[in-house]
Subunit: 493 residues, 2 copies
């Protein structure tokens, strides 16, 4: 082996540190210019075909200068952004981030630890941030938790613990095949698809997910839930869990969490809450009572890159029963060669609480951002988003040619442009086109959904940058584009 | 709701952009100073109790200035680093990152897209990087893949596809309970614990993992494997998968992949390769033949934050059968409101290929880094690490009081300091203390393992910054500390 003529001292570090340093400064200026001026930019713009083609090129064999690479980024990537950092992005539930959050991510990459094992400061910051999450949700100190990429992973993690801990059986060892009867879990029909995905991954299967009908307000129907549980018990199924929603993705509905908690208590079921974005409304006085029942749940999942406006990715799952949590993931503790001193000391390894062994220092952006703003400021901005949704609802109700499709109850507004004489299908086409034109003209990015078979423009506000004027403009432009489409050939009556 | 006195125009953006900009520049300088001078810093240092205490403070309610927050970071976090970016970090399998990679992470956070759905450039970059990974592993164009946090998630993802696609049953729908017989999978006893964790999460259970004995070279024993499969078939179990190792965590062993492929073909088993770090040795001429069988596997998992020296987190899983992959994760395609134009257009949503819906723009650091250096440079540095391991082996063999515990075959060297007359236990204590003192004195960070019951100093080189002189120093210092310990009271004979 040693005969090969390879330089034993070859590295990837720059030969010229000063140009790497200048590059960093140039990027800082470009980023700050961009963020400071974000309001003047289009929310979204079409990607030219030539730019798309550039992403077809094969893996580079030879080096380029860092200036060339950055130039290509600025030309082909940076302008064709998703737009979720823009004040008029209202699609899906995607947060904005903050400038200090961007810098935190840079520092995190500079330290570049794997935050799973060892005695080093990032382990303690990670732990502290989980403790802060417990304080935010008013979970007991004895609860455990873990920071993850997003609510999907947080929900899968919680349901894995729920599955493993509901039976006297050792499911980790035997698998679910040993369970007498089929394990089943319950959630409303408005529940996010990641719960279904979790059931599939965990080996329970989609059939194990009972999607319970909702009331007209899109909350789970408790009577239907109880009926389903009773029927399953009678038929020999094994009910083990109820998933409640704190903010559904379609309408922001909050399930009656207190009633769900009572049902879970009665039937001895694990109570999990998917609070991807909505759980954070707990910080807002008007919602703290409705969301207090989160404290009764066995576990809660929520994102920090949504309604805490941190850069992607960062979510948290909290589990009240620390033993159930650890014993669902810890791999034979005697195998871990932990020491009392040195690098191999440190807190309980984080892989004892989840699936990952590779974890970046994502806690740092939470640590820095929460110190920067303080929790009260987050509560204020979340409250602002909610009040903006109510403000938008009023604007919709005041406009002759807009129809509200669901009363606002959190931060989501669903409505459509209407015009006398148009069929449901015509209105769907019309509203689809309105959304697309809003995007193509770079004005705003709402998304869409279907409510009771009706196509809706869906405006979801988890945006720290949105101002009142953005909502005024959104409504004006929807009406303008709708009116134009009506007079155009396609939608002429 | 509207009566509350909340400012509808409150944001988290800085009032003073110029100080945020200055802060960014200050951080760039600090980071570049730090990275440029990394060699002069201790690899690791103890965290003072007062610093640890600071991480006990409750969630901040009130804001701090960004200067205060950064000062606290520089005082309490930055100095107490894990050390894996240092040239003499050899513990576990943790990569170093690069300066340009740090800047890429900053740009990624500045754009801050969720890279799952939509028509925007990061979706195409993500796709391109997956294609590059296919080219690196010489997988067919028709293969699919996904970028993930690490090899644990990559392995779970692959095994989920393996589990779902090996039977005519619809396991996604029915769960594993419907399988006639218990599903079982095979791997060597040296296989990483994440395979066991995967089996647990997937509802198969630890019992489903058959850990096959290894030969003296720590590779899976093919005869034992075949015997186990035959025995399981005879007893009504349902064998579905073999996991081969391209680089085990203890010794860097590479299983006989060609023979494993033949066994899988014969018994119609899914062939998965855990190539967390070792798969990348495929780029090195001396290993390309031994690792060519990766191309015969149904799936392969590997990290880019290990032996591609990218900042955490970034891994990839490739699945040869794109249908098996997509149909294991895609949630009812008709539900996805994809459009032909606008933001809601774009490539096939990435959540159709994995568990996550929230995904950061981790592809950007791969895109920028591969363009910066070119693949040939990576091959050179990986080769350097391997040759450094062989160089270190020679140094160990040449030293009277060092004993090699396993012949080097990749990038890991296991050995111990020995002294005549000391028992196995004494030697274990002695070598533990040597490792800890290396760390406490800030000299180097090897890790440890147990091989055939013998405690070993384990040096794993996946470090772009390591130079030949670092290995010379490591050996000198191990001998110096060992000799000192021998003459000290504790280890006097």
């Amino acid at each position: 082996m040693m005969e090969e003529s390879v330089n034993l001292n070859s590295t990837l570090d720059p030969k010229d540190w000063s140009s790497m340093r200048s590059m960093g400064h140039e990027m800082i200026d470009d980023i700050m210019d961009y963020l400071e001026g974000i309001r003047t930019k289009p929310v979204w713009q079409e990607i030219p075909a030539a730019v798309k083609d550039s992403f077809q090129s094969p893996v580079p064999q030879k080096p380029s200068t860092i200036e060339e690479v950055y130039h290509e980024f600025k030309t082909n990537i940076f302008p064709y952004t998703k737009g979720n950092i823009h004040p008029r992005f209202f699609a899906w539930v995607q947060g904005t981030g903050t400038p200090f959050g961007v810098l935190a991510e840079m520092l995190s990459a500079a330290m570049n630890p794997n935050v799973t094992i060892g005695e080093h400061a990032p382990m303690y910051v990670d732990q502290q941030v989980v403790n802060w999450c417990k304080q935010i949700m008013n979970y007991p100190e004895s609860a455990t938790g873990i920071l993850l990429s997003g609510a999907s992973m947080a929900n899968i993690t919680a349901l894995n613990v729920a599955r493993n801990s509901q039976l006297k059986l050792n499911i980790r060892k035997t698998g679910v095949k040993a369970v007498p009867g089929q394990l089943v879990l319950y959630c409303s029909a408005e529940t996010h698809s990641c719960i279904q995905k979790a059931a599939e991954v965990l080996g329970l299967g989609t059939d194990a997910v009972r999607k319970i009908k909702t009331n007209s307000d899109y909350q789970i129907n408790i009577n239907e839930l109880v009926k389903a549980i009773e029927a399953d018990l009678a038929e020999g199924f094994y009910p083990f869990c109820v998933v409640g929603n704190a903010g559904t993705v379609n309408t922001g509905a909050i399930d009656p969490l207190d009633e769900l908690a009572a049902v879970c208590l009665k039937y001895n079921l694990w109570f999990h809450i998917d609070g991807a974005f909505g759980a954070l409304a707990k910080l807002v006085p008007a919602y703290s009572a409705r969301l207090k029942a989160i404290e009764k749940a066995d576990s809660v999942a929520f994102d920090l890159h949504k309604w805490m406006y941190m850069p992607y990715e960062i979510a948290c799952v909290l589990i009240k029963d620390n033993h159930a949590h650890r014993s669902s993931f810890a791999v034979t503790p005697e195998y871990l060669l932990q020491q009392e001193r040195g690098l191999a000391g440190g807190p309980d390894p984080v892989n004892n609480y989840g699936m990952e062994l590779s974890r970046s220092f994502k806690a740092l952006k939470v640590w820095m951002s929460l110190k920067e703003h303080g929790l009260e400021k987050y509560a204020e901005v979340i409250n602002k988003n909610i009040l903006q949704a109510f403000y938008l609802e009023k604007l919709v109700q005041q406009a002759d040619n807009l129809e509200l499709l669901c009363p606002v109850n959190l931060n989501i507004v669903c409505f459509r442009y209407v015009h006398q004489g148009l069929s449901v299908n015509d209105l769907e086409e019309l509203n689809k086109e309105i959304i697309i034109q809003l995007q193509e003209q770079g004005i705003a990015s709402p998304s869409s959904t279907i409510l009771n078979g009706i196509y809706a423009i869906r405006v979801c506000i988890v945006n720290q940058r949105t101002l009142q004027a953005d909502l005024d403009l959104l409504i004006e432009e929807i009406i303008r584009i709708g009116d134009q489409l009506i007079v155009s050939l396609n939608f002429a009556l």
